[in-house]
Symmetry: D2
Subunit: 372 residues, 4 copies
Amino acid sequence: MASSTIVPAPDTLAPADPRAPIRVGIVGATGYVGGELLRILARHPSATVVAATGRGRDGAPVETVHPHVTGSGLTLTSELDVEVDAVFLALPHGVAATVVPGLLDRGITVIDQGPDFRLRNAADYPAWYGFEHPAPELLGRAVFGLPELHRGELVRAAASRASGTAALVGSPGCYPTATLLALAPLARAGLIADLVVDAKSGVSGAGREARAEMLFSEVNESVRAYGVFNHRHTAEIEQELGILAAGTGAESGVARLDFLPHLIPMTRGILSSGHVRTTRPVDQSELDALYADAYAGEPFVDVVGAPPATKQVTGSNRARVFVRHDPRTGRVLALGAIDNLVKGAAGQGVQAFNLVFGLPETAGLEALPLAP
Amino acid sequence: MASSTIVPAPDTLAPADPRAPIRVGIVGATGYVGGELLRILARHPSATVVAATGRGRDGAPVETVHPHVTGSGLTLTSELDVEVDAVFLALPHGVAATVVPGLLDRGITVIDQGPDFRLRNAADYPAWYGFEHPAPELLGRAVFGLPELHRGELVRAAASRASGTAALVGSPGCYPTATLLALAPLARAGLIADLVVDAKSGVSGAGREARAEMLFSEVNESVRAYGVFNHRHTAEIEQELGILAAGTGAESGVARLDFLPHLIPMTRGILSSGHVRTTRPVDQSELDALYADAYAGEPFVDVVGAPPATKQVTGSNRARVFVRHDPRTGRVLALGAIDNLVKGAAGQGVQAFNLVFGLPETAGLEALPLAP
Amino acid sequence: MASSTIVPAPDTLAPADPRAPIRVGIVGATGYVGGELLRILARHPSATVVAATGRGRDGAPVETVHPHVTGSGLTLTSELDVEVDAVFLALPHGVAATVVPGLLDRGITVIDQGPDFRLRNAADYPAWYGFEHPAPELLGRAVFGLPELHRGELVRAAASRASGTAALVGSPGCYPTATLLALAPLARAGLIADLVVDAKSGVSGAGREARAEMLFSEVNESVRAYGVFNHRHTAEIEQELGILAAGTGAESGVARLDFLPHLIPMTRGILSSGHVRTTRPVDQSELDALYADAYAGEPFVDVVGAPPATKQVTGSNRARVFVRHDPRTGRVLALGAIDNLVKGAAGQGVQAFNLVFGLPETAGLEALPLAP
Amino acid sequence: MASSTIVPAPDTLAPADPRAPIRVGIVGATGYVGGELLRILARHPSATVVAATGRGRDGAPVETVHPHVTGSGLTLTSELDVEVDAVFLALPHGVAATVVPGLLDRGITVIDQGPDFRLRNAADYPAWYGFEHPAPELLGRAVFGLPELHRGELVRAAASRASGTAALVGSPGCYPTATLLALAPLARAGLIADLVVDAKSGVSGAGREARAEMLFSEVNESVRAYGVFNHRHTAEIEQELGILAAGTGAESGVARLDFLPHLIPMTRGILSSGHVRTTRPVDQSELDALYADAYAGEPFVDVVGAPPATKQVTGSNRARVFVRHDPRTGRVLALGAIDNLVKGAAGQGVQAFNLVFGLPETAGLEALPLAP
């Protein structure tokens, strides 16, 4: 479906700021996360993509792979062969871990969109991903790139970067992002006694590789659970909820997560539904105060008063969070909705990039959602 | 979009059995459940629809409302004005309860597709539906029309009907059907200590009435929760699980259900995901035996070894049930997938009708699912 | 997504007629047309599928490939290794042509769902399909299996079959079926002076092979033209319209077709929109009479008074045809809507099979469409 | 589905340019075009929406109607009650015509997104729209707001505006935009001898009003033609093609258009397929040169070498145009793809607004398309 442009529109849409932009490379630019990074960074005021790599597409104009990304003038290469200040990695798990050490050594800041630097405990990699981590010494240096939970670390990484130490960000997975934003205030308050997370994702999260089970005719007009009891994002969610709950006495409530993802017939969007039994009775006003306090001032998180629809965030870096106490059962429901490719991937990577480079956190991410 | 046929195909597709078919009326035939009843009964070997009523559509050929139901020769009427042996009611809640007594008095067997005769406790109606039940004395006579759980009662109703007492079936809701089939074996074994039911439905369950929030542009590419803590089907699920668990000592585990329905962008299908903490440790082999035992011989229930997709049952009266124990967390997952308009509504109504009239349970319901 | 059944429902749904059914083989049973043949024939009153072959799936139960086709008891084989009376071929173009001669020699009647026996002129195969036909002598024997146009030939083939000569049917393509049913009365009347056919298809027509451009995320929320000026179905349409127009003096109007197919985001359904300049002025009443006459008595064709929606025929073997004259421009519009997998493929094959075996034409094809 | 924000994100996303922005009102802000105007203008560097009106929604925060448009701080009013420099009208046809004279008198520039000022000939209004135009004297003053065809007039209107005469723009319809961009070079060259336009639209073009036939369950998995022979956009297309072809001797080829729109199951996007018989033989190189020349320098039009998919322009103001000559038939195919709500409505209105206010034509419209 590639559609090379014969008469391209002139690039009147170039970044507004011509002052020495940050030079960015995208490694693994041919998939959906790569395309989303290209789309977002093409309009970033302070960054310019100077290199994009893609397996087996050496020499192909970016537009032949991502027809909607017009005017970039970029050509895919097999290797990162120009100087860059930062790279975004969109690689299969296990691959990023092998290239990151070299990049950091060259002083290049890394935003890894994959899982290789999200987990703090090296033993989690063989357990959940089936590979021994080749650079476990970097796991402590890496920042889990969810700014709403780890902004301080990202700012510290920015300071280090300014003094010469390249930063390493493990950008969170899509399900963890939606789930953690929905549940963080409860976890931090030690309120989670028992937790079921039932999540629904659009199909783009499964990537761009040709697989028969992701054909339109298979996915459309159908819903199914998958990754039953072994979805890899479980590890991230347990890790981060565990950190939040540490010291509250409610650590066990988030330690053995019942996480069930579902594939639903849409392209973009994740809704995470967190079902919580609480460690003590709560009421709605306490929850409201908790969430208001947690997200006041957050540029991308809206706490909303009705169950959010993923369409309300499509194409944007925004998250919608909803929390409700049920007086009848005593339970609490916490919902989080995001666009899996933006706040759940590329947009979140850019948000962390902004922080690490001392830019306004919202730079390049100002677009409102596209609805309907 | 009604499309009246100018040159209709000749009705070479008439029911095969010309011997005095059972005369059926459909009251409230203009919605999706009504259309589905017309579609199924048009090919039923032993029943003939002789009347179909629809508010404000008096005199309209059925095909102007349901263009796909060709060849019926039926015209909508405002009242049920011919003799019938049975009626299917597809009416708003609260309405059926007012007309059923008269129908029964006339000796007409009633399959009510709405909720008015599903609940045994009259007090549940004001609590969940906001109306006082006008005929509470009939609640004990009504059979909850899920044959897999109440076949014996349906067969007894058939015997009574044969001796002159019209039967009354409260056909279950779509969510309860998927949920109860998934969870019944666990409930009956007293295994449910704590239960979260997170369900996903296609849009046809919301009916055919024009509502802005159900427009294609609103629903497509979006998912959202709704009916938070107050969906009316909760009452049915709690009632039936409670009956199953009665005497097991695990009654409390199903007494205060955390039920959360979601609207997803598809027309047909329900997937119910039951997340269970068990009253005691179990293993997969015990679960397999439990489900094999429960559903051996059931004509419409398949216990499957991989998470079911709703597309695998579309257009059919079949249900797919999946159960899995997680050794890591000790929890149990039970999934149920159905077509909400068939096994979740019209097909199930016909299944009960078959039993009540002493017909083969599968009559008219033989069609395999339509996939892809 | 295969979902092997652990506790299958008992086969209470077996064909009603136990008398020596016709033994049928399906060669190439793993794709969508194969699945549709299995689905339809599983409920056929006079045929039984006794063999189903699939490349590289030797020994796999049919249900692992088509989870919705339960209860068949069939296992896929690599070769057709049991005796059959008829085979349906669902093979890539060029392959069927090599196996058909052997099948016919063994006295096996062949319904070829592919294109290898649709065209009468052997030279069309290298021109449109890129291969020399290996058995051109069979092209004259083959019947173009659109019963509405070639019923006489199918009935003659039935007579020959009864006297020992296996029949060969080239079952039409999906686009030709929708297009020819819409335009046949105009062509036969010599009314087509100039013709544009602009068609829209669901994605299942592209088959079940994994291709990145058919992923849900690529197809959803998008429409595009494809096969510009070289779609292979053009040849069939020109051939059949040419036969119809022969001798009317309007042969040239259908000789160089402007046929443009589009891919739209749905699984099933084809709508063909025929834009006609007429050879002489017409009016609506003439058109109405023409179409009424053409399709009176046809069991599967409805001439309708409003533009048909493909949803009105989904899952059924029915076609809806609409014709309208525009007094303002003098042009005529002719629309045809079918389910591409049923009337456009498997259902039509079964319809021809019925005729060739002297069965009621509608046997096994009685199901009404599934809507919504 | 409205979801009022409890803890809104702080408005860190305000327009970058704080210098006296142009004050804009949106009249009829509750529909899809209104929402799209709000979305685009919220990020416009030189304009600020200061008023938004909506029937019966007086006092409602904009976000209750358009949940995705966060941070505007706007409240819907029933009347335009603050001072504005320009208004965008998104009103039913016939209504704008009654309010525009008053607005112009007050010196307010008007971008009318409806049809009331698109047609030059007052007699076309009763013929196509069923109302007598109440202000025919303004039809000559109005500019047909397709910048690619009428940029000079828009620039002249800008000059007049600067000297005190409010501008009036009739922003084109969605189908005309896609169709005219695809066909303009051919029409201007006098090449169109005969024309069929077969167009496919997403459902958002039908608006946000609750209508049963636009329910998800009705539209999904279906395609149908509508507006057969009487779609109102026909008048615009004929008018503009007629202007382009004037003096070429090929006026008749575009005078009686065969225009057929189809509704397909997607939310956004229009693809217009123009089937052309030419007035003389052409070849591909001539067409390539013609289109290169026509669109060189156009910021929003890409002439592409493969059939465009609407997904390649979703959410952006871009159009993709494709032209191809068929040596076999001698015909020419011209395709145009846009997002109906952006380039087909709100984005195009903003593009004209930019020109009329002397701003960079691309201001606020820089976003790349959202794909997948």
